[in-house]
C-alpha cells in the first residue's frame, strides 16, 4: 500500500516538477552541491523595471559599468510595461558583451552558476490564473537544503526552493540567459550557438569586442570557418591587412575549398597593392564553382581595373 503511495508521489513529482526530479537521479557531473557567486551587484528594481535591473546586474558583473537607467531606454517597452526576451538577448551587444540563450535545463543553469556566471531567468510569479512575468538573477544554490538564491525585485537575496522555482520557471519554457565578455565562453555553450551569438555581436557594432570574441572562439574551435571569416573581415575593416591575410591563409589551409576565404584573401591582397597575386587567388575561387559567384566576379573586375590603373598589364588568365 505504502509502495503504491510512494510510486504515486514520485509520479506526481515527475508531473509537477520534472526537472527537479531529474536532478535527484542525475546531478550534473562536476557541479558542486552548493555555491554562491561572490560580489554580484544588486540593483533594486523600479516598478515594471525588472528587465533593466536584471540586465544591469549581469552586465556589471561581466565588467561593463552600467546602471538600470540607460538600459531602460534599450530594453523597456512602454506599451507592454515590461521587457521582451528578444530585446534582453540583444541589449548586451551595445555594451560589448554577448547575450547567450541557455538550453532550457536546470543542469545547464546550475553549471553556469557554478562556473561564476549569474543567470537571468524568466519566471511567472503569479499564482493565479493570469501571468505575471518577471526577470530575476540566479546567483547561487544549496542543494543540500534545497535552496536557490536570486536577486529578485527589491530582494537582494531571495531564497526559494528548487521545486517552487521550477513551478514558476517552467511557464516561460525554462528560459534563461547569461551575459559574458566575448572572450569568456559560457561553459554550456555549443560551438554553433556561440558562433551565432558572436556573429550577432558583430552586427551590434562593437569591433574590438567582436575581434576578441572571434580570437577566443578560434582558440577553442580552430576549425571553425565562420569565426575565421569574421576575424579576417574585422581586421580588414580596421585596416590591418597583413593580419587579415594571415588569418585567411591559415583558414585556406584548413578549408581549401572555401570560396569566401579565397575571395576575401584576393580582396585583401589587392588592397595591399599585390594585384597579380590577388588575381591568381580570385581565379582559384572562380574555379571552385561555388556560391557567391557574382560577387567573386565583381571582385575580379575590381582587381583588373586596379591593375590597369596602376599601369601593369593584367596577366593572361586561363
Amino acid at each position: 500500500m505504502i509502495a503504491v503511495l510512494l510510486c504515486g508521489c514520485a509520479q506526481f513529482g515527475n508531473y509537477m516538477v520534472p526537472q527537479t526530479m531529474t536532478l535527484r537521479r542525475d546531478w550534473p557531473e562536476a557541479v558542486p552541491r552548493h555555491t554562491e557567486i561572490p560580489g554580484v551587484p544588486f540593483f533594486p528594481q523600479l516598478e515594471n523595471q525588472c528587465g533593466p535591473a536584471a540586465m544591469a546586474t549581469v552586465l556589471s558583473h561581466s565588467g561593463a559599468a552600467v546602471t538600470p537607467e540607460p538600459l531602460e531606454r534599450q530594453i523597456y517597452l512602454p506599451a507592454r510595461q515590461g521587457s521582451l526576451q528578444v530585446e534582453m538577448l540583444a541589449a548586451p551587444r551595445r555594451w560589448g558583451r554577448v547575450g547567450y540563450l541557455l538550453a532550457p535545463r536546470y543542469a545547464d543553469v546550475l553549471r553556469e552558476v557554478a562556473a561564476g556566471n549569474p543567470v537571468i531567468v524568466l519566471e511567472d510569479v503569479s499564482q493565479l490564473f493570469f501571468s505575471q512575468w518577471h526577470y530575476a538573477v540566479l546567483t547561487g544554490f544549496d542543494y543540500r537544503r534545497g535552496d536557490l538564491y536570486l536577486r529578485s525585485g527589491s530582494d537582494p537575496r531571495q531564497v526559494t526552493s528548487f521545486t517552487a522555482f521550477e513551478r514558476n520557471w517552467m511557464k516561460s519554457g525554462y528560459w534563461a540567459m547569461v551575459v559574458t565578455a566575448p572572450d569568456r565562453i559560457p561553459v554550456t555553450a555549443t560551438e554553433s550557438g556561440w558562433i551565432d551569438a558572436l556573429i550577432a555581436l558583430e552586427r551590434g557594432g562593437n569591433r574590438d569586442a567582436s575581434i576578441a570574441g572571434y580570437q577566443a572562439a578560434l582558440e577553442r574551435w580552430p576549425d571553425n570557418l565562420q569565426a575565421a571569416i569574421g576575424l579576417a573581415n574585422l581586421y580588414h575593416q580596421r585596416g590591418s591587412m597583413a593580419d587579415a591575410a594571415q588569418v585567411l591563409r591559415r583558414t585556406l589551409a584548413r578549408h581549401p575549398r572555401s570560396t569566401v576565404a579565397m575571395n576575401n584573401l584576393a580582396q585583401t591582397l589587392s588592397d595591399q597593392g599585390r594585384h597579380a597575386e590577388a588575381l591568381l587567388q580570385v581565379d582559384e575561387a572562380l574555379k571552385l564553382n561555388g556560391p557567391f559567384e557574382s560577387q567573386v566576379l565583381a571582385t575580379r573586375q575590381l582587381i583588373l581595373s586596379r591593375m590597369q590603373a596602376s599601369g601593369g598589364a593584367p596577366a593572361t588568365s586561363q
Binding site: 517597452l77 540583444a90 501571468s131 551590434g204 556560391p291
Partner: protein, 120 residues
C-alpha cells in the same frame, strides 16, 4: 500610421536606387552573409531585410519608443531577431515584476471568493 508609410517610402526609394546601379558588390564577403543561406543573401532578401527593419522600428515607435532609440534597438539585432521582435511585440511575455496591478487583482478575487462563500 503615417510614420510607417513615410519610412517605407524612404526605404523603397533607396532600394530602387541601390538595385538599379549595382548587381553584385566587389570586396569582402561579410560574416553574416557567409553564414546565411542563399535566400537571405540575394538582392531581394537584402531589400526585404531593410524593409522589415524599418517596419519593426516603426512598430516600436508606436509603442512608446523614440525614433532614434527604436532604430538603434533594431540595429543591434540579426534579421531573424528583428522578425521575431515584430511578432513578439503584441503578446509575448514582457517581464516586469510584481506590480500594484497584480495585487489589486488578488484583493478583488479574494473579495469575490469571500463574498460568494459567505453569502450562503
Amino acid at each position: 500610421m503615417i510614420s510607417f508609410k513615410k519610412n517605407t517610402c524612404r526605404v523603397l526609394a533607396v532600394s530602387l536606387l541601390v538595385l538599379s546601379f549595382q548587381t553584385a558588390r566587389a570586396g569582402m564577403i561579410g560574416t553574416e552573409q557567409a553564414a546565411a543561406d542563399a535566400g537571405a543573401t540575394s538582392q531581394r532578401g537584402m531589400v526585404m531585410s531593410v524593409l522589415q527593419r524599418a517596419d519593426t522600428a516603426a512598430q516600436l515607435q508606436a509603442r512608446g519608443i523614440d525614433p532614434a532609440q527604436a532604430r538603434e534597438r533594431v540595429a543591434a539585432m540579426t534579421d531573424q531577431e528583428v522578425s521575431r521582435l515584430a511578432s513578439d511585440m503584441q503578446s509575448a511575455p514582457a517581464g516586469a515584476g510584481m506590480d500594484s496591478g497584480a495585487w489589486l487583482a488578488v484583493v478583488v478575487v479574494a473579495g469575490l471568493i469571500w463574498y460568494f462563500a459567505f453569502r450562503k
